[in-house]
Subunit: 515 residues, 2 copies
């Protein structure tokens, strides 16, 4: 349903509330357009911006944040929300009112000057983090991070929360989730993942695992061509988007018809690029599949980070790390890398699924990945509960890592400086990655019920039935309902970790011939 | 001088007018920030945007144009301007008030809906032009162009002008210039350029001119490296800017620390790329040299298109098309293109200065260039004075071209579809290119008076004295004074065509051994 003058008569509540809703929608679209500009400049900052452009960029980001805040907290917005909440609205309109009410309520707690200063601090921190990471020296980033954490605490206190500050942050990235939800979830996962990891490690030692020969080189332009084939076959429309390179792969659903993602290239390892591309294409397919009739409103935007991550994880892992996938991708791989060993699909799949106690989260396999997330979750919880000083962060990180993974972190680049998130002030973000893993497995189960043998489908090379399954159930629905409702509507069950645990245990037992 | 609270006491007019000026400046900066965003999205649209991004981009451009218009025409702006015009202000503040008054007065004539519709039409027209040019078929662009011209006429009538509509457009791109100024200027140029062209043509036929051997290839990445060396030596700071590729080379001074220009690559002709790069670097040096203390105000921005073009033309022609330049560039050229014939600097310079009655303006030499501009000027004059229908444009173009150049235009791509300007609604823009040529020669003369033998300076390889001469006289002054005043301050003489005509006659007489 479109909200135009033509639909006035269809609405039982009459012309006046439709007028209010139209006014509301005009304001919402302006706010979201500013958000889209922030997204565009953010994309540009990571992909293209020259080093000396940082100062003016920070200033511009601060200004946009201020403009957005000013419009969101306009008293007229409060009046409209009050009126619309008393009105009978259809489901899409309800969603917009619900989402904007939440944003409005929080924004009204924050002074404009604070919002601008925080945006500026974040944009500047990105540069400081890049330099510290380059030098692999946390001390170069420490004061910046302290400042961001201090500002984040300030934000929480503006919200009037004094007892459980970290919950505020968790809720910010996945509405409704708190420490009380995550703590048992994570400990449940650890209980089954850690023993699984031990069994796989033993099996790998026994089986002499496959690794890439050191001397092999995979040229960047060939990797690009190979990954484009995969991305296209997943359904990414390159006429409505781009693939570029950046240090930290990410995707940005700028606006209708223009969705961009990035990857990175390592000439010694084409798998790194491939799975970054499958991951980011998963995100990008969600953005391309949103209902553009509702553009620049919550209804036309992705519902949550957790659901977003389910889309990237689904394609990267559930589809991409299977022998069925490699059956299809093998000829593309051979076309681009004719000099590589004569691997078959099963071998490539084993390489792609090698479990390793590595240092880097984004390169982690499906078994260890959630342990990396938990580590960050525990660190953030301590930081915001006052149990950890920023100066002690590297030690805390390295100690926890060693106790879980049994290895010493040799340098900050491979430890607490590896992720971009904290430099963006994104505290409480990481746990949504685990939610994404759980949702992805749950979606796979439901998809199997509807479409039958997914391995056979993947191996057929025509992946459109899977995309067509996701489109109406996830992508096109935008923020029509809450994340948990969306998952339940799509799968018939409320969110649960069981499908993931069953999936991962079954998959790796088969791969490693575990008893 | 900076406009901060600290400078209140320095101002004789006291605190209240400083308060008014600060308020004014806040508003001006907001308006210019929106302009900077338009510039950024415009750059992106030409360099990166995927095809299907056009619709949402047009919508966003229209929205930004509307936002900018709304702020510029805010009645409070009128009140502030009235007050500040009664106040004693120092010269930089005066410049800002003068420039914003002109923009305000014009903007107030235009309804918001018109401004947004016009911005949308322009952004859409860009796509239509690209397709028509690709197909080399003017009929595909005709109705779009008719629509833009109709909207432009509408704009002129909103301004309340009924008699000389084209003057309004000319003034829009170079303040103070009208048909009454350009007509005698152009006929004066034609009087001396056409006979010069005939003499050169005869001399070339006699001398068996140098051309590039057809079979030579100059790889794109080598051209890129060669051109970067030249651009760097001119003084472009690659840490504060970028060079990219686009169909139509252009430069965009996005904001402090981030100035971008583009070029294009033709594997058979490295000169095309080189002179595009020198031209655009000239523009970009102006942008990098602006006084960033005054960013996002007219005082901190380039004064006019004519002066901007003087900077690009100065480097492209006065410096780049000399034997002295090639003495310096020869080793860079040989490093990148070791397989090219063993040309010396004199030979490369003769290739670079070959005069040709070509079809394409941007590839034209210094003798024919202004004839290309005049042709567009005459066409525009007829279009807006009602003497030419859009449907008849190709015929009018081709007829005039044949009568001046003695050749038939074989297809629209090489004729009336070659330039991007009309698709951007930029009618009245072309004549500023000729002003740029005139100013550039005048600046060269003045520079020679101050710095002595310019050829020797160029040949020395250290070009910083020239950039340092331009910085305080042109770049750093922004819009402090009018274009004509700026040229007069810098050169000691009001703008005049004589230095250009003397320069071009002397240069080509020597190159072609004319009597």
């Amino acid at each position: 349903m479109r909200y135009s003058c033509g639909s006035v008569e269809e609405d039982a509540s009459g012309g006046s509330s439709m007028q209010a809703y139209d006014d509301f929608l005009d304001r919402v679209r302006d706010i979201h357009r500013i958000g889209a500009l922030q997204g565009h400049l953010g994309w540009d900052q990571e992909v293209l911006m020259p080093p000396k452009g940082g100062a003016a960029r920070s200033e511009m980001m601060a200004w946009l944040a201020g403009q957005r805040h000013q419009r969101l907290t306009d008293p007229a917005m409060g009046t409209l929300l009050d009126e619309l909440e008393q009105t009978s609205l259809e489901v899409d309109a309800q969603a917009n009112v619900r989402e904007i009410r939440r944003a409005y309520t929080k924004a009204c707690c924050l002074p404009s000057a604070f919002v601008e200063a925080f945006a500026k601090a974040r944009s500047e921190a990105l540069v400081a983090w890049q330099q510290a990471r380059e030098a692999s020296d946390f001390s170069m980033f420490q004061s910046t991070l302290e400042h961001l954490i201090e500002m984040t605490r300030q934000k929480i206190s503006y919200y009037g929360v004094t007892t459980t500050p970290y919950d505020v942050l968790l809720d910010e990235y996945e509405v409704g989730m708190t420490v009380a939800d995550y703590d048992p979830l994570f400990s449940g996962l650890r209980e089954r993942l850690v023993p699984l990891l031990e069994r796989i490690t033993l099996a790998q030692e026994r089986d002499n695992p496959l690794v890439l020969p050191d001397e092999l080189r995979f040229p960047v332009n060939k990797q690009e061509a190979f990954c484009e084939s995969v991305s296209k076959n997943m359904g990414f429309d390159f006429d409505a988007g781009r693939m570029d390179a950046s240090t930290h792969p990410f995707s940005a659903g700028l606006w209708p018809g223009d969705t961009r993602f990035t990857t990175r290239f390592d000439e010694t390892d084409p798998f790194s690029c491939l799975y970054a591309v499958m991951h980011e294409t998963g995100h990008a397919l969600y953005e391309q599949g949103l209902d553009h009739e509702h553009r620049f409103t919550p209804r036309g935007e992705a519902v949550s980070l957790g659901v977003h991550e389910s889309q990237s994880r689904f394609w990267e892992n559930q589809i991409g790390r299977t022998e069925a996938f490699w059956t299809v991708a093998l000829p593309w791989f051979k076309e681009q890398f004719p000099a590589s060993p004569d691997w078959d699909a099963a071998t490539l799949n084993r390489i792609a699924n090698r479990v390793e106690k590595g240092f880097i989260r984004v390169e982690a396999d499906e078994v260890t990945y959630n342990l990396h997330v938990m580590l960050r979750y525990e660190i953030e919880k301590k930081l915001f509960n006052g149990d950890l000083a920023v100066a002690d962060l590297p030690t805390a990180w390295n100690t926890m890592y060693e106790s879980w993974f049994g290895m010493k972190v040799p340098e900050d680049r491979l430890g607490c400086l590896q992720d971009i998130h904290w430099s963006m002030g994104a505290f409480g973000y990481f746990p949504t990655y685990t939610l994404g893993n759980l949702y992805a497995s749950q979606l796979l189960e439901a998809m199997r019920t509807d479409l039958g043998d997914i391995d056979a489908l993947v191996a057929s090379g025509d992946w459109t039935p899977m995309l067509n399954w996701l489109r109406p159930r996830i992508h096109q629905r935008g923020s029509q309902v809450t994340p948990a409702e969306l998952i339940e509507d799509a799968t018939g069950h409320p969110p649960s970790p069981d499908p993931f645990l069953n999936y991962v245990e079954k998959k790796y037992s088969a791969l490693y011939n575990l008893d």
